[in-house]
């Protein structure tokens, strides 16, 4: 067994060609400014703008003794998230910015990112976005196979749902028979790995230079993606294809046991389906990925059932069960190859929006298990507290990746303040 989170932690290090990135960003901002100037002249200056700021104080505590030298047990951390948006043309044109900075004990977890900085124009049934943006595809809860546009910000969260801003041009067309999306993705971003003080790493700290590219164009390989999605009655269906440099690195071992880690050129076709019937959500995601080094199939499917407003208390209890399959063998990164996820989402629907999510992943072939608890509650009008616990149990010593993390169970408490 291997868990999504493990994957992310395995394969990450904040590595971007900063010079190129800067050049790109400057170009994007310049074109925005010019375009905005023109548009305002035409339509008149009915601009609305909005600035938001979020501050976060976090404490992560790893209660087991570390597996490797230098790894710490206590990780106090702070983060800041500024957001700015500018809208005009009755809201059909906008400029959106989301920034991020974190300061952490682990040097590699100390990082900044432009999550989003894009210009968007919508007109009748089409929409275009240019810049750094985040796009999400998929329906399942325990694994996000189909979602491929953005690189995972793997040092940021255990569940892998935090993403790096992806440079793109996105064109979207809504029709009566579904929505078509085309993506041009000119730049690839590598994953970040934990540094020497950090948890969720291997005995060797992986260096950013450890990861090469299959393509000679390296991070400038020009990638493309298409997606078709349609909602019809109780069905929500998505069909997607991605061509370009994969977001997951691939590990090759030569005859001497040396690792050759690189980002391959892949073709990936994805299917996601959700059937929403009464209180049941039936979900399926599957992918088929091909590359010179590896072809494989993976899928995750299951059901979410919600008992709502139990005894008129307002409390909803959701039960989630999903099966995860991956054709790749143990050496593969995302080897949730034969596992069961079960979870429960409890929403109190109170004024403070209290929520609890309990979950577990268990391997059907060995003893490895991961349990988790997540909770959140608002305090007053502008504060929120989150707790998270991840418990790795009976990790099988033969687990190629997860065995490195067997002492990395942790508790996290985070306080958010919104301005």
């Amino acid at each position: 067994m291997k868990v999504k989170s493990g994957v992310n932690y395995y394969s990450s290090r904040f590595y971007i060609n900063k010079k190129d990135m800067k050049k790109y960003i400057v170009t994007v901002i310049l074109s925005f400014t010019i375009y905005c100037g023109f548009t305002q002249e035409e339509k008149g200056p009915s601009l609305t703008h909005d600035f938001e700021l979020e501050l976060e104080g976090e404490y992560r505590y790893f209660f087991d003794e570390a597996s490797f030298n230098n790894q710490e047990n206590n990780f106090p951390s702070i983060a800041v998230r500024p957001e700015y948006s500018l809208e005009w043309n009755k809201g059909y044109e906008s400029l959106n910015f989301k920034g991020f900075f974190r300061l952490d004990v682990d040097d590699e977890r100390t990082h900044w990112d432009i999550r989003e900085l894009y210009y968007q124009k919508a007109k009748s049934n089409w929409e275009i976005s240019i810049g750094l943006k985040k796009v999400y595809w998929g329906v399942t809860e325990s694994n996000h196979l189909v979602d491929i546009i953005n690189q995972t910000d793997a040092v940021e969260s255990f569940d892998g749902e935090k993403k790096l801003g992806q440079p793109m041009v996105q064109y979207s067309l809504s029709t009566n028979f579904g929505t078509f999306d085309a993506f041009y993705l000119p730049y690839h971003r590598k994953r970040t790995f934990a540094g020497s003080k950090g948890r969720f790493r291997f005995s060797d700290v992986l260096n950013k230079d450890d990861f090469g590219y299959e393509s000679d164009a390296e991070e400038w390989h020009q990638d493309f993606a298409l997606r078709y999605a349609h909602s019809i009655g109780i069905f929500d269906v998505g069909l997607s294809h991605f061509y370009g440099t994969g977001r997951e690195p691939l590990f090759d071992f030569d005859a001497f046991g040396n690792i050759n880690a690189f980002y391959p050129i892949i073709n990936q076709t994805g299917l996601d389906v959700q059937i929403t019937h009464n209180a049941f959500l039936w979900k399926l995601e599957s992918i088929y990925r091909t590359s010179d080094a590896q072809d494989f199939f993976a899928a995750v499917g299951g059901v979410e059932f919600t008992i709502s407003n139990i005894k008129n208390t307002g409390i909803d209890v959701g039960l989630i069960g999903e099966y995860l399959y991956d054709e790749r063998d143990e050496l593969a990164l995302n080897a949730l190859q034969n596992d069961i996820f079960f979870g429960s989402r409890i929403a109190f629907n109170d004024i403070q929006s209290t929520e609890i999510l309990l979950g577990g992943i268990t391997d059907l072939e060995n003893s490895s298990k991961i349990f988790s608890i997540e909770g959140s509650r608002r305090f007053g009008e502008s504060m929120k507290v989150e707790i998270e616990g991840r418990f790795l149990n009976n990790v099988d010593d033969n687990e190629f990746i997860l065995s490195n993390f067997q002492n990395d169970s942790f508790l996290r408490i985070t306080l958010f303040k919104y301005f």
Partner: protein
Amino acid sequence: MKNKILTTLIVFTMGVSVSYAQSPEERGLEVAKAADAADTGFGSSTVELRMILKNKNGQVSERKMSTKTLEMETDGDKSLIIFNTPKDVKGTSTLTFTHRVGSDDQWLYLPSISRVKRISSNNKSGPFMGSEFAYEDLSSQEVEKYTYKFLKSEGNFLIVEQDPVDPKSGYTRRVVTYNKDKGYRIEKSEFYDRKDTLLKTLDYSGYKQYKNKYWRAGQMKMVNHQSNKETTLEFSDYNFEKELTEDDFSQNSLKRAGN
């Protein structure tokens, strides 16, 4: 003159005889249809919403939303709700396609992970954002969603009992007071729980008329008699001139609204 009197007399007699010939069920349905007809043709509207939640100790909590509504000719309305406060849920948005018959379609946008989720509209009786309003109190009121029984008239007021068709509703019935002379606008609703005990009362006030036809309340106050909590909705900046289309109620619009 004679003719006029005669005509009036005939019309009056006919009117009376018609209403006597009608069963309370038929008359109730007639009122509901008249109210629906009075509100037909508004096209689309946008409004800003402030929700004030008060618990039994008088502690107050507030949330702000923006709402867009599109009238559909052959089916239930489409609506888009965007949360502006509390700030931790800012940008969270819902898109709802109500259907006259069957379950509504509903999608939720979570801006923190840019994810659109199709959600079940099964939960009708649960509280909306911790308030005293249930989801079913806020969804588009389609004639087909209830059966009716006319109770009585008091001056301009017509009082009609409405029984929800959907067994998942939290109510056995509601008693709705219509104002016949003001475009059949609703003045008050009383909600009876599954044990047929009075649960909540909703009072409408601060009505204004838009486009010389459509009445919209400035305030809706829901009082829960069992928990002693109350929630007030304050509506402002009603706009019927935006001429929204179905393109403004797509999943792409949902994502745009939340960003």
